[in-house]
């Protein structure tokens, strides 16, 4: 039996905060600087010391006394109110002790520090391998005690399951029920997962369940009205079958990936609907485009991923369309379809943006390099690509509900998060989510040797040098992890190494099934692992015996990513938790990143400098890549802002169509 309050809270969400513009934005920015001030970390250190001071007292408590103390906090937190601030320090001390006894892990001081920051709604930047899971657990206990829904979002189903079961003992001892939700679960299991005090899940499952709940609630979403309706006719709302309890607190692991990189890709709940006419049209558009030649019939703008038809191209199309029916007669629809087909040809490349599995186009995620079989491109584009690949054309999906992660996470009353790489996006975290970023020092100093980038005039010489370097490290008996940006690149390198009869493991969107087994041995003696960005974030490569003495894992990046954070994630695979390790990036003056995001004048100057092997070329390249990355990030941020603005506008403009959050 649920209380009216619980019923009410199921559909009561925070209105997303206004994103300030103009002068307000400037003031808001200053507030952000203030929130991130160094002094705040100092005051937290003070609290950490107070927690430390309570350590011996807690140690002396008997098992039963500790349990009683913890359940006392449960009551305090549940009641809420003002004394929560005073309760924080003794509560953390008690949880720490419980963790020591029941998990066998005693949280370090930096983890306590991070927990305090998280509790205050901050985003903490913790170096990879610093025990983010346990930190999240400490905060989750505090959140769980309030009995408000508390969600912990991690990267994938495996981690969801692992973390929930790993920390279960701690939670149980603290009087908290823990649940988790993973992809394959049935609604009933999901409901159980969400009914627990704290729920581990992935962002995709969370948003999908939220949207599905939204669909089943239907139009009457406003909580007060719904409550009245429920009181008048309980049988109507009983059938809704919601799985979630509502949104309150969320702790986001790998926050930059979830809240920024994937933020604007909306999650879509859709059904497939046969649409014969669309299929035909897409096929015709492909045949019309077939003979068009780049630079003659159309111009390609790489930076903005657009094609522009030339006069000649328009004429050709005109000639070919005159014999076609209806929709092909007018210019506007026709141009749209043909441009779409050209986009499919120029910007969606096999092995890069997608792979073909069982005659189906499967999207490869740009940041993680993982195949995303559920995902489709927006209406028509997916079909256009299928037409291009001469595959059977799948029925277009029809959207039922849709929301971007960006908007979704703004509906929570309290958001906090952790990641290894946040500093590049500090401003964005603050502007969009109101989360100030603080950096948490490492427990042990990091001993990774970051070697300077090596620069080459063109792709071929770069690949040869990479292969040489792999061989060299391999001969030294150290394991090597080579990161590539695309499936195609990983295959290319694989061919190159095969030519040298080196033994290696290949991990990409086409061979992702063996992921766990490949990663488990990647740290062994002289292992070579080639991986796309898949082996970035969240991958924990354990070093084999005696590897640490030889210098640990060596990571090679074969290209720089548009976001420096993704690079840092890849480098972060080595030298974890105080282990030794080294990393290096290989770049060339012909890299796509430069072509797209560096002003043409600088491009040619850099290329010339590298070709002539001028002494300052490394520095020049570093600057060039820095500029290109910051340009890329700026454009990406602009796009995310535009999406967010469009979202807000749509919300306002279509509020007649039911005040929904999707």
């Amino acid at each position: 039996m649920q209380t009216p309050t619980q019923f009410y809270r199921r559909t009561q969400f925070k209105a997303p905060a206004v994103i300030h513009k103009g002068l307000d934005g400037l003031v808001n920015r200053w507030i952000g600087y203030y929130q991130r001030r160094d002094a705040i970390v100092k005051t937290w250190w003070g609290k950490v010391e107070q927690v430390e001071a309570l350590a011996s007292e807690c140690k002396d408590l008997g098992e039963r006394a500790l349990r009683e103390r913890l359940s006392g906090f449960l009551d305090t937190y549940r009641r809420g109110g003002r004394n929560l601030d005073n309760a924080l320090i003794p509560a953390l001390a008690a949880i720490r002790e419980a963790s020591d006894r029941h998990l066998g892990m005693r949280p370090f001081q930096v983890q306590i520090l991070s927990a305090i920051a998280l509790h205050n709604g901050y985003l903490t930047e913790m170096a990879t391998g610093e025990g983010k899971t346990l930190t999240a657990g400490l905060v989750a206990v505090l959140g769980g005690w309030t009995r408000h829904p508390c969600h912990i979002v991690t990267v994938n189903d495996y981690l969801v399951h692992r973390d929930a079961t790993w920390l279960q003992a701690l939670y149980e001892f603290c009087g908290i029920r823990v649940g988790y939700v993973t992809g394959p679960m049935k609604p009933e299991e999901r409901r159980q997962g969400y009914n627990a005090d704290i729920t581990y899940t992935t962002s995709k499952e969370l948003l999908a369940d939220f949207l599905r709940d939204g669909i089943s609630v239907g139009e009457m979403r406003e909580p007060s009205r719904r409550l009245v309706k429920q009181m008048l006719r309980p049988q109507l709302t009983a059938q809704e079958g919601l799985v979630m309890r509502g949104l309150h607190t969320v702790i986001v692991d790998e926050a930059d990936s979830v809240l920024i990189d994937e933020a604007v890709t909306p999650l879509i709940i859709s059904t497939q609907k046969e649409n014969q006419s669309l299929n035909e049209v897409v096929g015709i558009a492909h045949t019309i485009c077939d003979p068009l030649v780049p630079h003659v019939d159309y111009e390609v703008n790489a930076r903005y991923r657009e094609v522009e038809l030339t006069k000649e191209g328009r004429k050709k199309i005109e000639d070919r369309c005159s014999a076609l029916p209806g929709i092909w007669r007018g210019t506007s629809r026709r141009t749209e379809l043909i441009k779409q087909a050209l986009n499919a040809r120029e910007f969606f490349l096999k092995g890069k943006q997608y792979v073909i599995v069982d005659d189906k186009v499967v999207i490869v995620d740009e940041f993680t390099g993982r195949p995303m079989p559920q995902r489709t491109w927006r209406q028509g584009m997916h079909q256009a690509i299928e037409a291009k690949e001469l595959l059977p054309i799948s029925p277009p999906s029809e959207t039922i509900a849709r929301m971007s992660f960006q908007r979704f996470f703004r509906l929570f009353h309290k958001v906090c998060g952790m990641t290894g790489t946040a500093s590049e996006a500090t401003e964005e975290f603050w502007q969009i989510y109101g989360m100030p970023v603080v950096r948490i020092p490492t427990n042990k100093p990091c001993v990774r040797k970051q070697m300077p980038d090596r620069v080459f005039p063109d792709e071929d010489s770069k690949w040869v040098a990479i292969a040489d370097e792999i061989e060299r490290v391999h001969r030294a008996g150290r394991p090597v992890l080579v990161g590539t940006r695309s499936v195609a690149a990983s295959e290319k390198l694989a061919a190159l190494l095969e030519g040298r009869t080196l033994h290696f493991q290949l991990l990409n969107a086409l061979r992702h099934v063996e992921e766990a087994s490949i990663i488990s041995v990647a740290g062994e003696t002289a292992h070579i692992t080639i991986a796309t960005n898949m082996a970035g974030r969240g991958t924990d490569i354990k070093l084999g015996k005696g590897i640490a003495e030889r210098g640990g894992l060596h990571v090679i990046a074969t290209e720089r990513h548009e976001s420096g954070r993704v690079d840092r994630q890849l480098f972060g695979r080595s030298a974890r938790q105080g282990d030794p390790g080294s990393s290096q990036a290989f770049v060339s003056a012909a890299d796509e990143l430069l072509k797209r995001f560096l002003p043409a004048a600088l491009q040619s100057r850099l290329a010339a400098a590298v070709r002539q092997n001028l002494p300052g070329k490394e520095l020049l390249a570093r600057i060039a890549f820095r500029i290109a990355q910051s340009n890329a990030q700026r454009i990406a941020f602009k796009q995310r802002q535009a999406v967010q603005r469009a979202d807000t506008w749509l919300e306002e403009a279509l509020s007649f169509a039911g005040g929904g959050n999707n």
Binding site: E222, T331, R333, Q379, G380, A653
Partner: protein, 718 residues
């Protein structure tokens, strides 16, 4: 060709299953603008309008609660495959209709969203009010009912018969004005006199009220509703206003034009009647009031209302006439288009209109109205600041913020962040900085010719007044005026009969005294001495008289030209001693006696002059060179010639209490410059002209700042 919004939208699902339709009572009217068909949707409840294209209307009109949006859209797509709006356009369209309160939907709206919108609108209105302080509006009441009630009587006037009546009255009024134009002009000088201000304002209120009712009645007559009437603070002067925007929905543009012109039609009618009253009454309050009404009704009509460059009636008339709604915004858009397209190289920039003629109209309008506004408003500012300094400063600040600071900030923001410019940002910033830099260089660094002029008169370096020492009547001219004469040459002869008599009597007296002296020497020697002294006295007197007589012939005292234009008329006239008989001017050397006003004095003293030249009125084509010049140190207040003062047609303000018109209001400096004579120019003493001082070249900006500071200093002692 612009890119159409995409056919499919990712947000389509939000409205696909909605059942919505146009609100009941929404009227749709067809209008044509510049040959393009449009449908105007009108919400009679809120008096809001929304204009859509017929293709969009085809879709909107099909919306009904029995069908979902998706069904209607598919139906449209099947019927009009190419023109039917795409999903994205439909979403845009519906949201705009929703914002215009034209939609009816079965769902309960998100009331929080509605409330937020309401608050936003309120805030925007308030902001607009503050940014538009010179034309604040306060709506007060709803006159519609009253208009409808009185329409049976007033409405009769809005007819062909009314038009004929109007023409007769205005014609008669015009006749009166023409007949009594000079009196009319005389009285106009006192319109802004303090004593008249109250009458002027009374006239203004009356005329403007009638003006507004004119709009209202015309609008009501053609079927538009008029619901708002109130007070507008035009430059802090309360004036009535009325909202006749419902004329917007009229199908015929001529009706719209007529509603726009109604105010002026009424005003001219009133002005004509007032002119007749004025002409037929004796001076008094009624007479004066009539005059003021006439003045307001005609002057304001010409300066403000007819003028399309300000946002008054003329603007709306022009807008309706050209069939370009929102003329000003469109003009701004057009200017923006030119800049974006050609300066920033934005290939996607879109002109708001298609035809070349419209583009021309918009461009011309945009530029002229911009300039005009600046001129008019700086005029108003100076005017207000003259009387109310504090308010003037506040207004100037407000203007500076709303016209300089805000647009500048907006422009910078547009340059740096507008997504439209994303691809051309470097070029846009480059072009802008280039323009800004060249402007700065041009104004601050590039020296421009720098000169100023001063009025003055040409004077001979040596000249003499010709004066008679002895009174007398002119007998004959011995030399012709205008001719060159030598020193000592006789100019004219006077005759003084009394002098002659006196002379005769003096001579007689000498003869007598000599006779008596001779007699006394023989008969009574005791009398010799007195008689001798008498003789001496009489001889002296005689000498005096003889000298006087000699001076009846007036001679030139120096070589020169005798200038005396009226001397011929003097023949036979009696001249008292010391009368001016013209000038003797030495034509060989002239100097220019210039008066330098204070503002220019600084430049005169501070820099060395590069070149100086004089141009005389009437022969301005030839410049006279200058040998050297001398500034007379010390201020002066007496003009060298009355011709330089206001009274004599010159530029320098003179005190009104000086009958000669030579005493100036402000002190000035004097410069005497020796003029090189020229063959082409007849150098004449007393000829007015201008001296031009060419200073070393100097950039413009420092010069402007200096004159602005001088202006402030002079006017407000700042």
């Amino acid at each position: 060709m612009s890119e159409a919004p995409p056919t499919f939208s990712e947000s389509w699902h939000r409205i696909a299953n909605q059942r919505i339709s146009l609100r009941q009572g929404v009227h749709a009217r067809r209008q044509s603008f510049r040959g393009q068909r449009w449908i105007v949707l009108e919400n009679p409840l809120s008096n809001q309008f929304y204009r859509i294209r017929p293709e969009a209307y085809e879709f909107v009109a099909r919306l009904q609660p029995a069908k979902t949006v998706e069904e209607v859209w598919k139906e449209c797509l099947a019927r009009f495959p190419d023109t039917a709006p795409g999903q994205e356009s439909v979403i845009q369209l519906l949201s705009q209709l929703y914002f215009a309160n034209l939609l009816q939907y079965d769902q309960a709206t998100d009331s929080a969203q509605l409330f937020k919108r309401y608050k936003k609108t309120r805030q925007r209105d308030l902001k607009a009010k503050f940014l538009n302080v010179m034309f604040m509006r306060f709506p007060l009441l709803d006159p519609d009912e009253w208009l409808v009630k009185t329409m049976p009587w007033v409405g009769k006037l809005i007819s062909p018969a009314g038009a004929i009546l109007w023409m007769i009255v205005v014609g008669l009024g015009l006749r009166v004005v023409m007949e009594q134009f000079s009196e009319l002009k005389d009285q106009s000088q006192s319109v802004l006199a303090p004593g008249n201000l109250f009458l002027l304002y009374a006239g203004l209120i009356m005329v403007k009220s009638l003006h507004e009712f004119g709009h209202a009645y015309f609008c009501r007559k053609f079927g538009g509703e008029v619901h708002v009437m109130g007070v507008m603070l035009m430059i802090f002067t309360p004036i009535p206003y009325m909202d006749a925007t419902s004329s917007w929905g009229f199908r015929s543009r001529w009706k719209r034009v007529l509603v726009g012109a109604a105010g002026m039609i009424v005003e001219l009618f009133v002005a004509a009647i007032a002119a007749m009253v004025w002409a037929n009454t004796a001076p008094g309050n009624l007479h004066n009031l009539a005059y003021n009404i006439m003045f307001v009704a005609s002057v304001s009509t010409i300066v403000f209302n007819v003028n399309p460059l300000l946002r008054y009636d003329g603007y709306y008339i022009l807008s309706d006439f050209l069939e370009i709604p929102n003329l000003a915004q469109q003009a701004n858009k057009q200017l923006r288009f030119w800049v974006e397209r050609y300066a920033f190289g934005l290939r996607r920039a879109e002109s708001p209109v298609q035809g070349a003629r419209e583009k021309l109209w918009l461009t011309t309008f945009g530029i002229t109205s911009g300039l005009y506004r600046v001129v008019v408003f700086s005029g108003i500012l100076l005017f207000v600041a003259d009387s109310l300094l504090l308010i003037g400063i506040i207004m100037a600040l407000a203007c500076a913020i709303s016209w300089i600071a805000v647009p500048l900030v907006k422009f910078v923001k547009y340059l740096t962040t507008d997504p439209k410019l994303e691809r051309q940002r470097s070029r846009a910033i480059g072009v802008t900085s280039l323009v800004a830099a060249s402007l700065v260089i041009l104004l601050q660094l590039v020296p421009f010719p720098n000169h100023f002029r001063a009025q003055g008169v040409l004077e001979a370096k040596q000249w003499n007044q010709v004066v008679n020492e002895t009174p007398g009547s002119v007998e004959t001219l011995l030399a012709s005026p205008g001719a060159a004469v030598k020193a000592g040459q006789e100019l004219l002869r006077l005759r003084n009969p009394a002098l002659e008599l006196e002379l005769a009597s003096a001579r007689a007296s000498i003869d007598e005294t000599q006779a008596r002296l001779r007699q006394a020497m023989q008969e009574a020697s005791a009398n010799v001495r007195p008689l001798a002294s008498r003789l001496e006295a009489v001889s002296k007197r005689l000498a005096h008289l003889e000298k006087d007589q000699k001076e009846l012939i007036i001679r030139a005292r120096q070589d020169g030209v005798w200038i005396s234009p009226q001397i011929k008329d003097y023949v036979g006239r009696w001249l008292t001693r010391g009368s001016s008989l013209g000038l003797l001017v030495d034509p060989s050397s002239f100097e220019f006696n210039a008066t330098i006003v204070q503002e220019d004095a600084d430049r005169l003293f501070s820099s060395t002059l590069a070149k100086t030249e004089v141009r005389l009125f009437g022969q301005a084509q030839t410049a006279l060179g200058i040998h050297n010049y001398k500034v007379i140190p010390g201020e002066q207040r007496l003009l060298p010639s009355a011709a330089l003062g206001w009274g004599g047609g010159g530029e320098i303000p003179v005190a009104s209490d000086d009958p000669q018109g030579r005493k100036t209001v402000e002190p000035f400096f004097r410069v005497r410059a020796e003029v090189k004579s020229s063959e082409n120019i007849s150098m004449m003493h007393g000829r007015a002209g201008k001296i031009r001082f060419t200073l070393p070249d100097e950039p413009l900006l420092p010069r402007w700042i200096r004159s602005l500071r001088q202006l402030l200093q002079k006017r407000y002692q700042l």
